[in-house]
């Protein structure tokens, strides 16, 4: 990738990711509604929500929350930019883990019981996610010989051919990352809540809007990771990647609507087991062969 292409990608990400993310979230809500035989909200509903949130009065338990949430957003966007600029995937995953620390801090800074408990669960979720993400990066390195996005997608065959196990583990933790049932213990979009609004309990107005926007950026980033599993040097693979992304997204919605929530302990054990078995076996195969 030349520098110009990198810059274009980064600019496109910063500008388009929230729109694509919002659209995906809207489609998500629409499809979920249809699965429940409802009409559902308009596809642009997430955008309406955020616009409303931005216009509401800002009140807070602790004012520094706003600052921390903005930090969280900026860091996540920077992480995405690094990814689209073609920097090391492993580094991107490490920094992504760091940016979520700010979300944690934004939740606990209030000292509120509900949001602190949600934040603790968020930490457990991060702990459940991280190994699979790191394994993915290691898998890319083994399969394509590089951590760099440019080289990963530049190969003659798609990375997924050599790393189906990593992909399965990644999909598993993607459900956690996207806060889908059965793993929405820290914060969920469904009406049936355990901890009020979990980690976002004390976030309202602008702060919640920033949180939502960050979620969109993150979704797009995660989908881009799905894409680099698929894309190879052949142009047609881009279309294949888009198809796979849509399929993955649909799969997540399906899981979301058909599973009951699990306890966070079960989530941790389950995700680590899946990572260990699925990605682990794949790793051993890749290393030995």
């Amino acid at each position: 990738m030349t520098t110009a292409v990198r810059v274009i990608f980064v600019v496109l990400y910063v500008l388009l990711a929230p729109l694509i993310g919002a659209l995906l979230a809207g489609i998500d809500r629409k499809i979920s509604a249809r699965m429940q035989r409802r009409i559902g909200p308009p596809v642009l509903q997430p955008l309406y929500d955020v616009i409303k949130l931005l216009k509401k009065q800002v009140i807070a338990v602790d004012r520094s929350q706003g600052f921390l949430i903005v930090s969280y957003m900026i860091l996540t966007v920077i992480t995405g930019c690094l990814f689209f600029a073609g920097v090391d995937v492993l580094m991107v995953f490490f920094i992504l883990g760091t940016s979520s620390v700010f979300l944690y801090l934004a939740a606990v800074v209030t000292g509120s019981a509900m949001s602190s408990m949600g934040a603790q669960r968020e930490l457990v979720q991060d702990m459940a996610i991280e190994p699979a993400l790191l394994f993915s990066a290691v898998g890319f390195y083994l399969a394509t010989g590089s951590f760099e996005v440019g080289s990963i997608i530049g190969g003659p065959v798609s990375a997924i051919v050599k790393m189906p196990g990593f992909f399965a583990a990644f999909l598993f933790v993607l459900t956690i990352k996207m806060r889908k049932s059965p793993f929405d213990t820290a914060q969920g979009t469904h009406a049936h809540q355990e901890l009020v609004k979990g980690i976002t309990t004390e976030m309202g107005a602008k702060n919640l809007a920033y949180f939502e926007i960050t979620e969109w950026y993150e979704t797009v980033l995660m989908m881009a990771v799905v894409a680099i599993y698929i894309i190879n040097s052949h142009p047609a693979s881009i279309i294949a990647a888009i198809v796979v992304i849509l399929l993955v997204y649909f799969l997540e919605i399906l899981i979301d609507n058909t599973c009951a929530r699990l306890k966070w302990k079960d989530m941790l054990v389950l995700s680590w087991t899946v990572t260990l078995i699925s990605a682990g076996v794949n790793l051993i195969l890749l290393m030995v062969i």
Partner: protein, 154 residues
């Protein structure tokens, strides 16, 4: 002017209701009535809510709770009393522990009578509430603009 009425989020609080109205409130979210097509989301969190739905009358124990929840909602906000108990105290009006309807502790904007209130009328209440929400939002914007202007001049 942004169209905020497309996203009215609800905080549902059960005062001393017999749960009849509460079931109907939830029923209005179910596939048959699907209030979500209007953008309604049932948040459990006052911090994120725009419309405060109260069912049941106010008694001495929950008066402070209702007040606190109302205070925790950011402006602009609208209060809807659902069911006759929330409107006036209903059949419990004269009970020793009942203070009266929701308007005994906080200003109520929309009254949705009924025992229990039917989902249709609840949704109707929500639609009226979101129009009011839009109006208040515009007022709020104008106020903020004025304040900002004053601050800049000072």
């Amino acid at each position: 002017m942004a169209n905020v009425k497309r996203s009215p989020w609800i905080l549902h609080y059960d005062g001393s209701s017999c749960n009849g109205c509460d079931i109907e409130v939830l029923a209005s979210m179910t596939p048959v009535y699907d209030a979500e097509r209007l953008g309604v989301e049932n948040t459990g969190d006052p911090m994120q809510a725009d419309i405060f739905l109260i069912t049941g009358g106010i008694n001495s124990q929950n008066a402070s709770v209702v007040k606190q929840l109302y205070d925790q909602m950011p402006r602009p906000k609208v209060v809807v009393a659902v069911g006759i108990c929330a409107c006036t105290g209903g059949v419990f009006k004269d009970a020793y522990n009942i203070l009266g309807g929701a308007d005994t502790v906080i200003p109520v904007d929309i009254y949705v009578p009924g025992c229990a209130a039917r989902p249709q009328s609840i949704i109707d209440g929500i639609i009226r509430a979101r129009d009011l929400f839009q109006k208040r939002s515009e007022e709020h914007d104008a106020l903020m603009k004025k304040k900002n202007l004053e601050r800049r001049q000072a």
